[in-house]
Symmetry: D2
């Protein structure tokens, strides 16, 4: 394995700056040689904070830098696909944020380019690297849970996102539930069919934008097991992230991580704090772990554990759920795309 | 309110004997004047144990007893409807075990007889009387939870029932999930449509009998909220009974009642006991409360809180779920019966 | 084992009426032939409620009834010792409420009479029959916890008792902590020395009566382990009853039994109910179990598990704690009495 | 407030390297200009890892560096006092690890030097900076808990330390319980008297070295409240850190932070993981916070929240507990030193 991996980061907004900080402060094996953002001043601020030598506006320049072995693509979603293609052609290994793209054609072209170039690709589903979800995955794999029966995922935001985000996000199924679709596949295996119920219950402005704010989606897995995901854009008690698997040998739950471990009692009862409200706080360590994994994959013989196929199938699931809700009928993934 | 209510119990098997014991030992206002069972020796044993003066084989004799003001019908399901009709015509108030019947025509005839006779009818959905579920209901009613968004019910048996029971029970949706359907209506209001996924995953013999052992059912409520119920015939860790409601002001969970409050720690971690395995243990107090409520309704001006309509709609929901699973599409309740 | 045990109850106040109700409603093997109270109308009310044939004012008459095999002594504390002596001489087996007496001389005389008469004696430390505490005891005995190191007992009342009770109760150490002393011995074995700190912090009127309302007591067990008991007369969140044992192989906790299993979440956090406020509710089943055990001991070959020695040592511990607090020094039990 | 604070670290062993890493990676306001260790290669390794420009063997050279405004003293305990004196005389602000020293004379001399020089001093009781303990402190201060009654602290190590450490540590009361003594004062205020029971129960070799491995200590606070601390060198389920405060308005508990939030259920019951085994993991964020606080105090007008008096009183409490155990009697702090 190589001692150091030279990395360039494309897009230094919210996620890109988190990845850059993690690469520099937490992953000694990573060497960030340049950061790139079309908003040059944004990239410059990150570079200044972290002591990064080179700042670039045009990502093509980054790809032309021979020292760069791998890129982290964290620019806006609509750029992911063509950046992946260019990076692959430049022979750079790629970490790409989710979703790979909002249209499947672009995704397929990008994945073809990656395959042709033989570069490594990891998709940014950080929840797979959360200690809790990972351990449940291992216990399923080890047979401790037995034959899988039921999966339940609850994933709720503390409050609706700004409408500016809702309008470009692709909607609840492609923006929010996409993480849960990937988690469902991570724990249970491939999905055959989905049935989605959704409604506007907590944020009328989201309804006016043509989206739903609350949804309950049933999954039928290829292995016969069933699953259900519920999402809501508003849970006033915090960012609610739970998962449960029932199998023939028992069950495993991932409970929420609490903001503190204090229980206070008074004449009204027992009280504890709300959940952390921010996903970056909840998954802070998972973001580090996914990046460490990527760096190790680039440095050595390992294959990235979250593949292009994973990235693509999560989008396919999003479209299937969307179609299911619109037509109010179960939709097979094969109706959306070859899977 | 009257001091005492004279009651006759029809059917002294498992549920009937529980009700009789509760009436005599726990509800001073109740006066059990006779017990009745076509297996006379079964009724006799209960009468001997509890000091009940009269034992009857034919329930018509019980109905002819002028002292009897109210009857508890706990005979086998296929007798419920005609016994209700006879009891109503005899002017007796009626507590009837669930399900009212397995066919809707019989239910409709029975409910018509009850209405015509003007007698009171309470249906045996005891979970509504569980302290936990009741308090959640009250908090929803009081507005503490806000506008309702998502209901989640988990209801799992420790192990599959004997096949002899499976064959006459009406199947998972009418025998097991019927309680959850009623609970869903109790908490959230009326249902418009259901979508049911079901499979044979833990008990192949149940599949051979044409039923499923695991199911995930989505509910669309008339108020726009959504719900999901999951059932499994086998949860090795015990009788799992949980409920969760999310609304615009927050959420409420009913967690499982544990077998004890011991946590034991060793070098492998922290351990607590399995859940109680038997529904009669979990709902022991609820059975007392429902019977107390019925006696108070007969004695005074109160109307039974679990109505014939409730009993009928739970069956309608069971048939809708059954049809949904068979045809793999969402089914509106109005497809099954006028609702 | 005999089919039925004929029992007379002496003292039908709060505890006596609970025992009588349990004997009649919950323990088929028990046959309550008479109840006795110097307040005849109190005994009469209990007899009427439960259908007991004989009501007596003077307990000597009860002891003269040849049918009576065993007595339950639940009259006021200052009568326990001479009633035990009379009952023993009359050849009756004895269940006696705690404390056996407030002076050790009386206790010693009563225990001598019991021994001489060869009757069975069980002392009313009901907590030993609580499922939780019993299971911890069994796990200690089985070696699961390993060599014992530390015991922690927390025992707090929701609010101070009426002053009329405080004045005759013998004080916090003999009235309230006596249960914890017995529990400590039950779990860990005999005690050699105690050190008690106590103060008046929540109920000044208790201080004016010469008692403390809060205390922390260190125990040194003969096996080298150490323990600590804390008591407070006022815990606004309810009747707090916890226990913890640490050993070389791990630990076991008995957590509080909650009033319900509901967790409610809102924008301020997660909330659950206060603890039950009444000891009779918390230990309802333990009171049944201790009485069932006594009846079985009288009926058969079993020896009562809570002995006269246990009753005596709990009082010795109370006096040792009292002396320790007054003199602010550790006090060996042997300073109080031969042990 | 100044932008940057120039800091030198003296002692780069286990604690010193943690502090240095935190200063550099987590506290932008800190500027580590040099590290110092008599084992020069140890300091060099830390400097290499973190890019620190200067490495020093003799701390006098560090103190002679005019750029250095503050020092972090994390060398071995027996050097703390004279290093503090030298640092104070050199006009450097001081963060000193606990304990300040093992003899009170040295502590008093060091504190006198600090006072004379007018430099700021913060003592390394990092637990005060743990979010949980801090929030309980704030709630006590705000009056939410009411008048204080009982404090309970449980603090247990997963396994005994190496004997080499036991022999120089000063013993359980000065090495391990010192943190709990400080926590007790932090939450409840000053202590008047202690009573300590201790024994050798889990690690005979510790007994052979003249120390105890298990202890239960009662504290009497000046405000009349009482407290109890229990320590054990061996809790096989992990590093156990709990605290509980009871007051007239209610109670607050700090529960353990779990290793993950998974609950797994099988036919034996419910299981969760052991606690983290390492104090550096449990208090990782507290170590950052204490150092951030120190840097802010040096940079601005703030006074360090953990004072020399706090450092001294924790040692006085350790000696009082030691004496109490040896003489088996309560010991007032004034017997040990003027307080």
């Amino acid at each position: 394995m190589k001692d150091k991996v030279n990395i360039g980061v494309i897009g230094t907004g919210r996620m890109g700056s988190v990845h850059t900080r993690n690469l520099i402060r937490r992953i000694p094996q990573a060497n960030v040689v340049a950061v790139c953002d079309i908003r040059l001043e944004v990239a410059q601020a990150v570079a200044d904070e972290l002591g990064i030598p080179r700042v670039i506006r045009d990502y093509h320049e980054l790809l032309a830098d021979d020292r760069v072995e791998a890129v982290v693509i964290a620019a806006s979603t609509n750029t992911h696909a063509f950046m992946m293609i260019d990076a692959a052609r430049a022979g750079k290994h790629i970490f790409c944020e989710k979703p790979l793209a909002l249209d499947l054609t672009s995704i397929d072209e990008a994945l073809a380019a990656v395959q042709q170039a033989g570069v490594k690709l990891q998709v940014g589903f950080q929840r797979r690297f959360d200690t809790n979800f990972q351990r449940v995955h291992e216990r399923i794999a080890s047979g401790q849970i037995g034959d899988l029966c039921i999966l339940r995922i609850t994933s709720r935001d503390p409050e609706p996102p700004p409408m500016s985000y809702v309008q470009v996000s692709g909607g609840l199924f492609l923006d929010m539930m996409i993480h849960d679709f990937d988690m469902a596949r991570f724990q249970m295996g491939d999905v055959e069919e989905v049935y989605a119920a959704g409604n506007v219950l907590v944020a009328p402005e989201i309804g006016q934008a043509g989206d739903v704010d609350t949804a309950v989606v049933t999954l039928r897995f290829k292995n016969g097991a069933m699953g259900v995901i519920d999402n809501c854009r508003k849970a006033v008690y915090g960012y609610d992230q739970r998962l449960e698997v029932l199998g023939s040998n028992g069950a495993a739950w991932v409970e929420n991580e609490m903001a503190d471990t204090i229980v206070q009692a008074d004449h009204q009862g027992f009280h504890s704090a709300t959940l952390p409200h921010f996903f970056m706080q909840r998954y802070a360590e998972a973001y580090v772990s996914e990046m460490r994994e990527f760096v190790e994959c680039v440095a050595g013989d390992k294959t990235p554990p979250v593949t292009g196929r994973d990235g693509r199938l999560a989008v396919v699931l999003g479209y299937a759920a969307h179609k299911s809700r619109q037509e109010n009928r179960p939709v097979r993934l094969s109706e959306i795309a070859a899977v």
